[in-house]
Symmetry: C2
Subunit: 789 residues, 2 copies
Amino acid sequence: MAVARTLSRYWKSRDDLIQAPRVVFISNPSDGGRETYNEVLTAGVEQLIRIWRDESRVNVERGTQKLPIWGNQIIRYTNRDEENTRFAAGHATRVAFKDQQIAEINLKLPSSIGVGTGARRAMVGAAENIVGLHLGKVAFITGGSAGIGGQIARLLALAGAKVTMVARRASELEAARDRIVDELLDMGAASVERRVKIMPDVDVSDFESLKRAFTATLDEFGRIDYLINNAGVAGGEDMVVDMDVEVWRATLNANLLSNYVLMHEAVPLMKAQGGGYVLNVSSYFGGEKFLAVAYPNRADYAVSKAGQRAMAEAFSPFLGPEVQCNAIAPGPVAGDRLAGVGGRPGLFLRRARLILENKRLNAIYAAVIRAVRDGAPLDRALNRLSGNSVSAMSHDSQAPQELRRLALDFAAQGDGICTWDQFLLTRPLAARLVSRLRLGGYLLDLPDWRAAPAERTADGNWLVSEPPDDLPFLPEGLVAKDAEKIGQGVLSQLHLGSMPTEEEVAQATVFFLADRAVSGETFMPSGGLRVERSNTEREMFGSPKSERLAQMRGRTVWIIGDHLSDYVAATVRRMIVECGVAHVVIIARTAEGGDAVVALLEDCPRAPVHVIVAGEDFEGAMDQALVTWPRPTTVVSMPTEPLPDRLFDADAPLAPDAFARVVDRNLTQHFRVARKASLYDDCQLVLVTPDIPVGADGPAFALANFIKTTLHAFTSTLAVENERLVHDVPTNQINLTRRVRSEEPRDEAEHQEELTRFARAVLLVGAPLPDAQDSRYRARIYRGTSMTV
Amino acid sequence: MAVARTLSRYWKSRDDLIQAPRVVFISNPSDGGRETYNEVLTAGVEQLIRIWRDESRVNVERGTQKLPIWGNQIIRYTNRDEENTRFAAGHATRVAFKDQQIAEINLKLPSSIGVGTGARRAMVGAAENIVGLHLGKVAFITGGSAGIGGQIARLLALAGAKVTMVARRASELEAARDRIVDELLDMGAASVERRVKIMPDVDVSDFESLKRAFTATLDEFGRIDYLINNAGVAGGEDMVVDMDVEVWRATLNANLLSNYVLMHEAVPLMKAQGGGYVLNVSSYFGGEKFLAVAYPNRADYAVSKAGQRAMAEAFSPFLGPEVQCNAIAPGPVAGDRLAGVGGRPGLFLRRARLILENKRLNAIYAAVIRAVRDGAPLDRALNRLSGNSVSAMSHDSQAPQELRRLALDFAAQGDGICTWDQFLLTRPLAARLVSRLRLGGYLLDLPDWRAAPAERTADGNWLVSEPPDDLPFLPEGLVAKDAEKIGQGVLSQLHLGSMPTEEEVAQATVFFLADRAVSGETFMPSGGLRVERSNTEREMFGSPKSERLAQMRGRTVWIIGDHLSDYVAATVRRMIVECGVAHVVIIARTAEGGDAVVALLEDCPRAPVHVIVAGEDFEGAMDQALVTWPRPTTVVSMPTEPLPDRLFDADAPLAPDAFARVVDRNLTQHFRVARKASLYDDCQLVLVTPDIPVGADGPAFALANFIKTTLHAFTSTLAVENERLVHDVPTNQINLTRRVRSEEPRDEAEHQEELTRFARAVLLVGAPLPDAQDSRYRARIYRGTSMTV
């Protein structure tokens, strides 16, 4: 203490120092007893260093001191090697002369220098960066019992870290822990059991269990250096139009909100510690920086994975300089998940089945819709289908022509074992069919069908007969062939022609975790997947052609979401005055919001404007609009409330439920609207990301960029899915948020210009669009884009 | 041999094997002598394995064998440890049961197991991935004596690799080698001198010296696993309009073509070895995947760095599965280069000086051009300037008004030490001024000034007086302040608020090199730089407004490059028929090329079409067009010859000089045109990337994508530079190459549609554009874009 006081005074009085002062305390190798005395002393010195660091930082800020003082202590009594003194001295020299400030106060000598560092002699240079890479670090890994997470846990433990693995099942966690411990013991490592901990009964969907496990780890190890958000779920594996809102929410909770819940716990802790690292394990199908990848039938998964990446990219400026935040995005990995775990079929097999089932459903759904377009009563079509017999349907003169033709096709698709060629549908497929018709508003005038029965799957009960249980419905030979084709398609995209193993990806990750300079980035451990991508940051060029605008004359347009009343009003005005739209239906969340829009329409004919106040029931409001006015040619889904302007502020951080609300309003709302509008005929769907008030900066801007990137995964996926539906609704996204603050409107004049540009953007992608069959080029550029105003 | 034959027959006859057969040969620990017998045996087994691998691969392809056989041998006599047997056995087990095929045939036991792996006991698990990370690998590093390259060499050596460092100066190389060797010896490593080699007198601009060093390394170590293209030059550090073609070429030679020269050597070798890794050390300022970053005053450097990255991205599919090819793109790094090496000022200081000098030059140049626009004779303006006195100019009633106003400004900018407030220009700045006027064609009617004197710098001799040598011209206080501002601007962009050290970047790189699954990617070891980016893959939306097209009536348009005659003809037709352009000047490389375009214009008025045959003298042809017709409103620079359809084919690889020709025709040509056209008034510049013939696939497609990405670094940089010039020439790029083959035209109908789209794209960015002052949004999107047709 006396030495510290003297040094402190000395340094404070000197202003000719070239480098910031460094102090390194070295503890005794042993107190000769049970190290109790050493431990008390160490704790005291630790506290001294902590206060000293803080005090000198404050002094520097106040200007009463020129250079900050940085201290560390080297703890020797964990080691009994002969080289103890030399090694500690070398270490102290390096610490004292290093420019970088080592955040950890206590630097423990490895219990065995040889094992810990691979060296036989005390090093003056330094190879400890490579060996003992994560020595003494504490890692908290969700889903660490298997897959990539399990390998990360294993390699981190091998690299010297303390590791807590949390997952649901105790048995799997125990097995994983035992494997790691055995391996470490084989290597001759000591006190292994104390370094590798497991916590069962933790579910990423159960935020309270997550928080408990995090706190328990902190209690156990005293600090947490690495938060590795690895666990997640596969999601609904369904098309957007077939996906329940609850399934969508469950995926986002488990894969995305769980990450935020843990970051909310970890970031203040890591800032206080002076260092930390958050790693989100995303996926190649979560896209790349500024690029979205469409992942049909996996929209919920793709959105959650894009969100994990977007969090790292958008939030990291608010975590530094203490906390690094990055993502990794592995491509397909040869391992459990791909092959199928616990008797579950592997990914490619599941996809093949899904695609085949979807093709059947889409074909029958298209036939039904075409029959309705031709004027056939929908309930009759459903009644003809309910027999569920391929052979009966093909001879049924009462059935719509297209359904009969389909049945003839199906009859030729059997393989002798399955019932694919005998039955039209299974109960789950029949339930999806009715659900689509209900979502699309086609059952609104059929009282028997209008409302969903209490149990959703009961919707399939309208089938009179269903395929027997003892025979497969799907032709499994065809499924296997398709699965192989999907797998080979993936392989052919990989530059190296092979998928990495879980261990290879984990190794790359463990190395990536050692990089102390990187934040806000996404690392792709397996490169070369060349699937089609779509730019998130596309800018608006040109204007819509007048022929396209002319097609809007006399039509109906919906604008859902009233928060940005001036943007809504600017768009409504242009649509009425310039395009001659007959009905503009504003579906507002509140009556005040609707009034605010109408108040801004003074200079515009009011007759075409109708307001529905939806409250939280957007679906009901959409159905109401359907039965009141002609079907819409354009549906614009807009933000319904402003973004919070907080994130990881020390005083008032954004609480997880507030973050969940941002996700609900800006992602789930678009999903709810899109799920219905994708089932309308002759409709264009436009999704709008949040605006930032003029002059606002900081967290709200980061949140808006997070939404923009994450939503684009949805937009691009839905655009591809919709090409497979008979309605072929083009879906595009308009961003009111730019990449960098300097591009945002700076004053009222630029805000006014933005309003004009926004209205033009809505028309550019919202006016009737070229058919996909018409021109490949024109069709593509207007589908799934993300365009910044 | 007999065992091999028996095993081979056995495996060939079995078709019920679950896993591909593996064979591991283990050599004797010692032959009791000088290991000569062992060495002969090892060489024999190596050859046997090589043939066996190859034969079984061919058999599998032919279908005469089901699973390929893979062999390795473990060489023990390099090791004398007691644990030799146990360690080798454990190693053999792992090799035999590993799914991954280890490309290296010979797996040498480390000379000391303890040092090599950090283990005291033979491991059954496996931690050798982390310790001894690059054991036995051979690395060839250009520019390994200092900076990031030096640290990579050091860390690779620490990780067990054999390293050859090549650079120019022997003294620096020796110092670097000695440091590494000392450090390794300190760690207790053995036979260090044999593992760390240096080769002086190697210059990346001297391709023969590079090839010699590569061959010498191969002779020395018998193989090369890592080619690390690290060395490079800073480039011209000048605006494009001030940069000599020779300087541009020198930068591209040293930083880009050198990489290809070495890849051309390394790839066949690595394919034959069964494995290898090419790492191009690019830069953050080379952009990111699908994104360009503008780097004003460093266009040559930015293009070379973008090219290094584009090579990895575009070429890697042609190198796999044996060879990985990636890039790293470090941001600013705290180290020698930033601080300044060998008495040279550091990067920020150099930039500050450059920016200040450029501001002065741009101001005087703008004043001269404005005077000419107002009708003042140019030679009189130059004569008034030649006095080079700030005070005289400010009172000179004969001088143009704007020059006098400028001089008054300058007079107030001194700091009492410099001559910045007394002299208008230095000789080098005066030379640049004249060079710009000559390039822009403003001196064509002034015989005294028209041609450059033999020595370029002599162009500054028209100054009657110049600043004295004993006083600085620049106000160094202001320079230092600006340099600090630049540095702090960079820091504020980094999420972690600090620049990584060279060692940190090198460590990340050495880890990245250990990832066996990644190819075609660019790794950013220091994330978080949020400079403005521009999308390379932007798609064309909308059409040009008719008001803009109307402005082309009666104007002149140039199209330079005749290779794509149908694209040229389609554009010319639309310009004449639709826009009423008065003169279309086609600057063709050959007479036949010009004729081919004219022949396609049958249905179009021919009177406005003029052809100049340029040969290789594009500059001369441009000057000729300037004096013959009114100045152009649009200059379109197009490809002049088709791309080769070869790359790393075993039989006929693309030779380095053929690759150099691709670069010359598709990058340097655009630079030559742009350098002049950026100095024209009221002009829009359009650069076009190569087309791929319908149906062509493979290497030409990769080369086109390489060009597209690399050129965009130029386009986006030039666009920013041009906003600083009085002419403010908007520059944009049109891509005839798409990201993926499936988006390319598939038949004649789609090719025709592409011609139409191309002509529209040229008008979209080539018709007179909104002024940057007019609207920030509109101005930005039409500057520096890269738009795919």
